[in-house]
Symmetry: C2
Subunit: 188 residues, 2 copies
Amino acid sequence: MGRWGNDARGRLEAAALALYAERGFEQTTVAEIAERAGLTERTFFRHFTDKREVLFSGAELLKTLIVDGVEDAPPDAPPMAAVMAGLEAAGAFFQASVPHSRQRQRVIDANTELQARELSKLATLSAAVANALRGRGVGDPVAGLTAEAGILVFKTVFGRWIGDAGPHDWSPLLWKTLGELRAVTASD
Amino acid sequence: MGRWGNDARGRLEAAALALYAERGFEQTTVAEIAERAGLTERTFFRHFTDKREVLFSGAELLKTLIVDGVEDAPPDAPPMAAVMAGLEAAGAFFQASVPHSRQRQRVIDANTELQARELSKLATLSAAVANALRGRGVGDPVAGLTAEAGILVFKTVFGRWIGDAGPHDWSPLLWKTLGELRAVTASD
């Protein structure tokens, strides 16, 4: 059963997001989420450690997709090209669930603690990408800096991609944003 | 009285950092900080809202230095040059206190919650720089992306600057790192 199928996990996620949007993250309890999903609290805790994890349970999969993409890039690909391959692979993760991504982002934007958690997630992602680059034989400081630049591109693209005008196609947006980052770093 | 003078605030900061390094941030109480500084808890709370704020009380000044530097850059300076002017201005903030910066960073590196707070600080800094660019007539997405690139340079330089091999001269390190960022974004 897919992420948004009629399975317990998917129902819990949908119920949680709807409640966070309606009443705010702080004001929502696990009991309410379970009730809305027509399931028990026990089932909730079989899938998630707490109500925050509902919003961040995709982080591991996202990291795996990106890191695998970096590792699987052609051996002769330069560091940034390898990172872009990883970020392209992440597109599939989001493409399936635009309304979900939008709703999730609105919940996060409304809560300082969740924003901090999101920033930590991105920092972890950056460290994982840097490690993947080192595994490809890329030395420092290039590995760390390329990973950070890649995550900056990712963050920017994601913001645009779920923006009101969007969603656009993921991959062209990635390359456009990398081009813009390159342009601004040259403007001195 | 300067930041590291014999004033109450400076004594409290020094005592707090020493204790955080010795016993860990979590394990240190305000009472212990005040005692080490030879002051009362009441005096502590006149200067800081809590023990975390001791580590982040400089954030406002840092932001002011950087934003003022961006605003005061020559009107015809391109966006990244204006950001670099702001980051150059921040050098003075750190130059005076290398051992302090190093000790503070070690405390933060050892604590996940403090790391998250540091990331939030950088995000706030980036938003302030983007706003300063908009005030110079820079539109989006250039303003946001240039600010993010600038904060990435800042973060990278800071890490190098307090690294074991350092400290180096702040300004050359800034330009070197911007050049490296430009180079990695071009390597596709």
